[in-house]
């Protein structure tokens, strides 16, 4: 084999590897898988409406599953449609009533939509299955705080601080709850403690400024 022939062969192989999938390969992959791939690609480009459309296609094509429902809820949340997101997570909860995942997911649109009463209920549903779940406890504390239930917020944050001593969000949450109850000295101590290890912590700075 001459060098020219060898070079042509290498180029042909290279071209084959870079070319789009052959019709035979595309035909062998299920349509739903393609749609999922496209949905992920669109999500990565922050085209949430497009990503959602792909999942809707999957469902219309009979691919409605717990996974598709959960993904619709997630993409709706990312798209800012909290009502649809909550409905999606609620549907997923109905499909898998013993799962923690959709219950925890439901807290996202409720938190973003500032629906504190529903958020508290959703967090308690998670904690009924997983009493030590840190995410649910943290969001429960937030629901307490924003509903002006500062004592319960402080109690919940205090437990979280004990369980996760290096989590500064829990510490600042406790500081704010104490501040709202007029316990300024304790709150100041907490904010100063946070700033000692996180000098640019905006939440702690605001807490100190609010005193």
């Amino acid at each position: 084999m001459t060098s020219l022939t060898r070079a042509c062969l290498v180029l042909a192989l290279l071209a084959a590897s870079l070319a789009p999938a052959s019709p035979a390969r595309q035909q062998s992959e299920p349509k739903t898988a393609v749609l999922y791939r496209e949905s992920y690609t669109l999500e990565a480009k922050q085209d949430y409406a497009g990503a959602l459309a792909k999942i809707r296609e999957i469902r219309q094509a009979g691919g409605g599953s717990y996974f598709a429902t959960l993904r619709m809820a997630w993409l709706s949340y990312l798209a800012g449609d909290y009502k649809a997101s909550a409905a999606g997570y609620t549907e997923a909860i109905a499909a898998e009533p013993r799962a923690i995942e959709p219950k925890l997911g439901l807290t996202l649109p409720l938190l973003a939509g500032r629906n504190w009463r529903e958020l508290e209920r959703a967090c308690r549903d998670v904690l009924a299955l997983d009493a030590r779940n840190a995410i649910a406890r943290s969001r429960l504390a937030q629901s307490f705080y924003w509903a002006a239930n500062y004592p319960d917020a402080a109690s919940t944050y205090r437990q979280l601080v004990a369980d996760y001593p290096s989590d500064l969000d829990h510490r600042t949450g406790l500081g704010w709850a104490l501040l709202r109850m007029g316990r300024t000295a304790e709150a100041r101590q907490i904010f100063e403690g946070v700033l000692a290890v996180s000098p640019d912590n905006v939440n702690a700075k605001q807490g100190l400024a609010a005193q």
Binding site: R117, L127, N149, Y150, P151, R158, Q159
Partner: protein, 411 residues
Amino acid sequence: MTKHRAAVVLALTLVLGASTGGLAAAQDPDRRAGAWDRSVKAEQANDLPRARAALAEAYGEAPDSYEVALRLAWLSLRLKKGEAAATLYRLAARLDGAGPEATQGLADALTLTGFDAFARGDRATARARWLEALRVNPSCADAPRGLDLIGPVPTVTPEVWGGYLTSSQSASAAQAIYLHAPAQVTDQVGVRFAYRHIGSTAGSTGGGATSTSTSLFGQQDEFYAGATFARSYLGVQVIGFALRSPDETVPGAAMALRVGARYGVSLTAASMSRSTGANRQIMPQIYVWPTPYVGLTTGARVTNDSDGSTTSAVVGATVIVGRALVDLQAHTGTERWAFSMAGPTVMSLFASSKYGGTLTAGFELSRTASLYLQAQYEHITQPGTSVQDGRYTGLSVGFRWSPKAGKKDGR
């Protein structure tokens, strides 16, 4: 009973708290929303009952939040509910986040319950509360004040009085000396002994001590001996006495019953046997201490003796300001040989008193010494005689020595 109920509520709360993984209870989220702010706002408006209710309705009487327990305790303390405050401070001290204010508050609440117990005559409870307050918080300032107030047991707080008595009716005067030795045997039981000597200085015929028609004063010796029993809401005193003059010896006895604490009723009954016949008195009264520093009383004295039956209205007021005390007792309406349990004394004049009063001022000179000044005035009359109405006055100075507790009471 209240303590037991609180313990049951607390136990249930702890059980329920454990079942929810220690998280705040789920009930009443609507009530809890904004409850803290509502409570603070009500307190700022000086509506303490509403401030307390806002939190208690939202979080219950045995909350699982340290801050709520502490605030409920504080509001209870401000509402003078010492027992409730103490229960809540004890609860707070066991909750997550408990700080030194829980134990400091508990000492304050215990001190208050001590003064409450003291006000209703329950010295044993008062002493126990004050000593516990000092154990909880050794720097508690008010508990030692309470312990000083009741002194150690057993103890004697002797008094000596000197008086100068005058009467315009017979232009007579007398000197009096009075010795009183109340002894607290236990926190509930006490005994008291008193002696008074009246000696005429001028204008006296030297005949009947206080029983001549021309002189109100002569020689007289009075002896008193009694016992007291005081327990929560109940106090009983009995006294036997004898008034001895050259003309007669008058034996007598008296008893006083008190039912109540900061407010209540009392009944004093006295009987003495004079040569002219028996003198019997009964004096029902109601009293109230609206604050620990102000006491008010009113009632009536019914006197029955050989001269007939009379009724007089009696009123009294006591005010304590810092280390000073002022007490006024007055009556309007005829009285004869009026017996006073406070002294104890008998106004053993050979005359009737239409109206009059006694003003006493006391000053705490030191931790162990108190000085008293007393002024008496009575408008006197002798019905059935040609003697014109006149006045009786008495000025007295007293000194009380109170051996204080020091280390004897366990401090």
